[in-house]
């Protein structure tokens, strides 16, 4: 059971290189026709780690990862560096990216029903990956697809091979998407709001599935969500994004115990408690600024209860906090780190 998805455990594969992060993003910016939506993101993903990216809609969570995989439309201008095992992906030739996408880095999306091709049988949609990245063909595709469908808990796996997406429920389609992602035996799975379009009960099942698969395959998981609750249960490390910037990053438990950034604090206050008495939920007033109307200073300043005059003119940089995280807030208590933009964190056991 230790190797359900057939992936070589990360530890065995990379003992020698474990000091080097699997994926490194440095100074990533994305412009859409002159409007900057990602304003300099730095992050690293270590082998086997799980990292949650949180923020409201429009904070730039998804765009960051679409940019990393070269999946943005041609109208987008991407700068900075995205390296996988030291290999630069930005500006890489399509052929090289095609060998990385689906094989080393897989991605699943928000609405599984529209993310699957409506006129292609789901078995073929999984089989495509098996044929391209595993070199399988014919009956071995069918057998491997069945194994993957069973692995992701798709009922009646054998018969589902010939089903179309519209014959499955949303939750089942997301399982198919996960099976498709696992088919390439990736080192990283980027799950972009994988449960947002699903019922609450199904949400929990899919998150459990992702956690289980990560443990058993040793792949890293990047979970993108607007829901801090979803991310904190599934991930070891959390990165909070706002206005195309990272505003706080910290281990999951310390984000809950001592959130540093006022935006993180706001997200927590808006979250129903997991246990104990119900309390009044506090919404964050106002809205995420449009990229073309971004405030000159801290992007959160217009909504921030701890706003100071300086916040409206200076963009705060990430600085190390005593809890082992980084926060980009002038008002919040933080000590300046030596390398403020480097987010090196150790993998938690």
């Amino acid at each position: 059971m230790a190797n359900l998805a057939g992936t070589t455990p990360a530890s065995a594969l990379t003992a020698a290189r474990s000091s080097q992060p699997l994926l490194t993003i440095e100074g990533l910016t994305v412009d859409f026709s002159g409007v900057q939506v990602i304003r300099g993101i730095d992050l690293t993903v270590a082998r086997g780690e799980s990292i949650g990216i949180v923020g409201e809609s429009g904070s730039g969570k998804s765009v960051t990862w679409l940019a990393a995989l070269g999946l943005l439309p041609r109208t987008a201008t991407v700068s900075g560096s995205i390296r996988l095992d030291g290999e630069e992906l930005r500006g890489a030739a399509a052929m090289r990216l095609d060998r990385i996408r689906g094989r080393r880095v897989a991605m699943i999306f928000q609405d599984p029903s529209s993310a699957l091709n409506p006129v292609i049988r789901i078995g073929r949609q999984v089989g495509e990956v098996l044929a391209r990245h595993q070199g399988l063909s014919g009956s071995s595709i069918r057998a491997e697809a069945k194994r993957l469908f069973e692995l992701v808990g798709l009922p009646d796996a054998e018969r589902r091979f010939d089903a179309y997406p519209h014959e499955l429920s949303g939750g089942q389609n997301q399982r198919v998407m996960i099976a498709t992602a696992l088919a390439g035996k990736p080192d990283v799975l980027v799950a972009d709001e994988p449960t947002t379009a699903l019922d609450a009960t199904i949400q929990a099942q899919i998150l459990d599935l992702l956690t289980t698969i990560r443990r058993e395959t040793g792949m890293a998981l990047v979970l993108i969500s607007h829901d801090l609750g979803v991310v904190s249960e599934t991930c070891e490390r959390i990165m909070v994004m706002y206005g195309g910037l990272v505003v706080e990053t910290a281990p999951s438990e310390s984000i809950f115990a001592s959130p540093r950034h006022p935006y993180t604090q706001g997200l927590l206050a808006a979250l129903p408690p997991f246990e104990g008495a119900l309390r009044q939920l506090v919404p964050i007033e106002g809205q995420v600024p449009e990229p073309e109307n971004m405030p000159p200073g801290c992007p959160f300043a217009p909504r921030c209860p701890q706003r100071m005059a300086v916040c409206e003119v200076t963009i705060p940089r990430l600085a190390q906090t005593e809890a082992g995280g980084f926060s980009a807030c002038i008002a919040g208590p933080a000590t300046e780190a030596q390398k403020p933009l480097s987010l090196k964190t150790s993998v938690l056991a």
């Binding site: 679409l66 995989l69 999946l71 399509a94 052929m95 990216l97 095609d98 060998r99 990385i100 996408r101 689906g102 094989r103 897989a106 991605m107 999306f109 609405d111 529209s114 993310a115 699957l116 091709n117 409506p118 006129v119 292609i120 495509e128 990956v129 391209r132 990245h133 179309y164 519209h166 014959e167 998407m177 498709t180 390439g184």
Partner: protein, 311 residues
């Protein structure tokens, strides 16, 4: 599936009946066949005899009932001008029309579909704009204008091709081009927008995220989806094979169904006009039926809805 089929066929028959009824009424309200065929200087007695002979002296509803009863016996009336069976007259003209419309249809498909796909894949580039400008020009210029320009340039100035009529393969070229250009333009625009719609769908991004090369994404994921709306417009073009060349046949004096229709309408040759309209309606309705069934093949979502009797 049977229920689906039965409903479609019933609807098709009803459509044809409505077209025929409409044609019947409009033709009889819009002019007097006795006057147009016998001429203005015919004697009142001769006119009355003509009307009696063709049943035009009976009340409209009686004529209508007679007409419908005859259709069900396979009797489509006789030409008031030639006297021969209207159906034979019309069927005799169909091969000549198909000689123009079938190659023109192939031209529309062979140019329109690749041009539309290419433009969509190179959206907002110079090539895309060039294709679209050509397409807009191609479908805004009326076919009689295009036909006359082609005649002026290629037949009169350069004298490469005949101005009209029949007799050789060269006679086919100008009418086929005139017919094909407009349809190719319409198809190019349609296919382009269908492709753009599909290329913006999340499943295209999914396919790219799986590491499938772009050419294979286009071929395997985008085209099958873009084919679904495209089938509708191609079906419409197929339905137009018999009657889609009225103007062009007139411009090039081509002896096809369209030419017969123009002459027969002018003469109020009722049976012939009605027979042509009936055939056109049947052709259109049949191609629509075929399109409906093709949908079932191309779109599994519809296939399931159909087999369970919904829509």
């Amino acid at each position: 599936m049977f229920r689906f089929f039965a409903i479609r066929v019933l609807r098709a028959v009803l459509t044809v009946a409505l077209v025929v009824t409409f044609a019947f009424i409009v033709l009889r309200l819009s002019g007097d066949p006795a006057r147009s065929i016998m001429g203005d200087d015919a004697s009142p007695e001769a006119m009355a005899a003509f009307r009696r002979e063709w049943g035009l002296d009976q009340p409209l509803w009686m004529q209508y009932l007679h007409y419908f009863a005859a259709i069900f016996q396979g009797e489509f009336g006789r030409s008031m001008r030639g006297g021969g069976p209207a159906l034979d007259l019309v069927l005799g003209r169909i091969p000549a029309t198909l000689m123009l419309t079938l190659p023109a249809l192939l031209m529309k498909l062979a140019i329109g579909i690749p041009a539309g796909i290419y433009a969509a894949l190179h959206r907002n580039t110079a090539i895309d704009r060039a294709v679209m400008v050509t397409a807009v020009a191609g479908y805004t210029v009326p076919s009689f204008v295009l036909g006359l320009v082609l005649v002026q340039v290629l037949a009169i100035w350069f004298a490469w091709l005949p101005t009209g009529g029949t007799g050789s393969l060269q006679h086919l070229i100008l009418p086929i081009i005139t017919l094909g250009v407009g349809g190719a333009a319409v198809l190019a625009r349609f296919v382009r927008s269908a492709m753009l719609e599909v290329l913006g769908q999340p499943y295209i991004r999914t396919a790219s995220a799986k590491g499938i090369p772009w050419a294979a994404v286009v071929r395997g994921h985008a085209l099958p989806n873009a084919a679904i709306p495209t089938v509708t417009i191609v079906g419409f073009m197929v339905g137009n094979l018999i009657a889609g060349s009225v103007v062009v046949e007139s411009v090039f004096s081509w002896p096809g169904v369209g030419n017969l229709l123009v002459v027969s309408v002018a003469a109020r040759d009722l049976a012939v006009v009605q027979c042509i309209l009936l055939l056109v309606a049947v052709a259109m309705v049949l191609s629509n039926l075929i399109v409906d069934f093709l949908y079932g093949f191309l779109d599994p979502r519809l296939a399931e809805a159909n087999s369970s009797g919904g829509h």
